[in-house]
Symmetry: C2
Subunit: 345 residues, 2 copies
């Protein structure tokens, strides 16, 4: 592979000039520009980005830590984040952060702190608090995103959405439709631990809005499952076994809601005629299932976009970033589709 020097020699100029010409800095005579470009093309020269990163003390990559990229929600985030990063001439390193111990992977964090990536976006709820906090003093730019508890780390930049509000919207929608016997299917990252629930804020919001209608959700009507379609299906089956009288189910995310839809289908329960189902987050698939899922949209792509841009702004020049940009909390919105309606009677 040819280097800068190779080009310089063949073009009869110095390395500095080649650098200037190729990066369009400074000025150079039309003749040398042509010459250098010609030689570079002939040689198939490509700048060594590693060397450049070392010299510039910057790296063209940022990293994003998920719990699980198999979850479509995270895929969508990754997709949007990659596009946003690319628009800013950056690459995206993906890191599945979840380890058996459930904490952020230290090797990964160290690598990032080792300037492999010049910044880091951490998604998820209550993942790896410790290791993450240990990281921050190291001066690595970090942006939290889609964080469930908005105020867990008040000092860390965060782009998220009001999950409490999202839960409220879901609850209010069902209650306003007239539902009173409502079940909840909630997700857990450790379903093997009895009572472990991941989506605290959504749940709290849900319960709060329902309380305004004097609706309570006793324990048999709250079922917890692993964060997947299958988990939602199983949880819903348990719920309906325990209490077949519920007329609506709110799930703390769309995957679980889709599982609920399937459980209903298996039991020949018509949605929304006999059972309403509402999800949360608004993944693409929620629009593609049948019946199409009513859900609370949190604009995942904007969150990804906002996270990447905030991170890169912070890296470019922290001083430029207004304090107000350090804590962005989006507003969720109800998306009415076909899976909810008034109760049968």
């Amino acid at each position: 592979m040819p280097t800068l020097e190779d080009v310089a020699k063949l073009a009869g100029v110095s390395g500095a000039t080649v650098s200037n010409v190729l990066r369009q800095r400074g000025a150079a005579s039309a003749a040398t520009i042509a010459k250098v470009q010609q030689v570079a093309r002939d040689l198939g020269y490509r700048p060594n980005l590693v060397a450049r990163a070392l010299a510039e003390r910057r790296s063209p990559t940022i990293a994003v830590f998920f719990t699980n990229i198999l979850n479509p929600f995270y895929s969508e985030f990754a997709f949007a984040a990659e596009r946003a990063a690319r628009r800013r001439e950056h690459f995206l390193l993906i890191c599945n952060a979840a380890t058996p111990e459930g904490s952020l992977d230290t090797a990964y964090l160290n690598a990032v702190a080792g300037r492999l990536a010049e910044g880091l976006i951490v998604l998820g709820s209550d993942l790896g608090k410790q290791s993450l906090l240990a990281m921050l003093p190291a001066g690595v730019p970090v942006v939290l995103s889609t964080w469930e508890e908005t105020d867990m780390y008040p000092t860390v930049p965060c782009v998220t959405v009001d999950f409490h509000k999202a839960g409220q919207l879901a609850g209010a929608h069902l209650a306003e439709l007239g539902h009173r016997r409502i079940g909840i299917v909630a997700g857990s990252e450790h379903p093997e631990i009895v009572g472990d629930v991941a989506h605290h804020a959504r749940l709290a919001g849900l319960r709060k809005s329902l309380a305004a209608y004097d609706v309570t959700v006793p324990s048999p009507r709250l079922q917890i499952g692993s964060d997947s379609i299958e988990g939602g299906r199983l949880a819903t089956n348990r719920l309906l076994d325990l209490d077949p009288t519920v007329t609506a189910i709110a799930a703390t995310n769309d995957l679980l809601a889709i599982g609920a839809l399937q459980a209903a289908a298996e039991r020949q329960i018509r949605v929304p005629d006999s059972l309403s189902v509402i999800g949360l987050t608004g993944i693409w698939m929620s629009a593609q299932v049948r019946p199409a899922l009513t859900t609370i949209d949190i604009a995942t792509a904007s969150l990804a976009d906002g996270s990447v841009n905030l991170l890169l702004d912070l890296i470019d020049d922290p001083a430029t970033v207004p304090a107000s940009a350090l804590r962005v909390v989006g507003t969720p919105a109800l998306v009415r589709r076909a899976s909810t309606g008034p109760p049968a009677r």
Copy 2:
């Protein structure tokens, strides 16, 4: 951020010794080992991976080019690839290669060739042939994966599966169940172009196996849609409008098949009683939908694993890699689930 030199000075040794101690190379007295480690810890030293990469002329990252990470198939590949890479102490750069023009993104390729990643896995069917071929002479290690046409680039290392065989298995399964009026829903990356089909090998295999049973698939029974659930649903609806007599549908991938399932559900057609549906690839979701989808499993995770390991082997030492490892073609397998059965009559 402290550097190697900082540690060296404080520990009263040279940089080389610090490097040796920290990387456990060479030998050092117990005393200096302890000292160096102590100082490194106190300082919160983390090696600068960019500098290391420059010095070693290696980078700890590999890149994978997809067409679309929103497709669960690619997510699953990414998930497995990331794990495999990590086991070999590498990071994964994800690149959504699809551009509006449909070709591989040159900027991305150049970056990789710029040693940002030391190798590259390219997924997909007929994506970016030109740019990719232009890339190869540059000496960048490349592994093709999940490639539809096994022999398109005979000289490029490739880990894939026999898609032709996969198509055959799907067709044979339906035919053996007794189906004779069979529809096909095929995917396209450019559905706006009339007649554009992506999954050639699968289609050919499908047709071939059906021909053995004297089954042909005339044009109205072959519908093409965009590679998504929605695309499958729409294509299936067109197909059933044009010919309501089909008793089975083979889709060229699972997303399309899931769309077919939904189309059937909307039309109150019972699966598999009145209509059988078979998919291809075996994404996780295929097991989670209801009825669970019968499909042809291509062991995506193993493909990802194999691709990463082959690439890394090639990078470590091409001479070590036997020729037989340069072209791995996996064998697909039928997974019988609930969406297929004998025709009603």
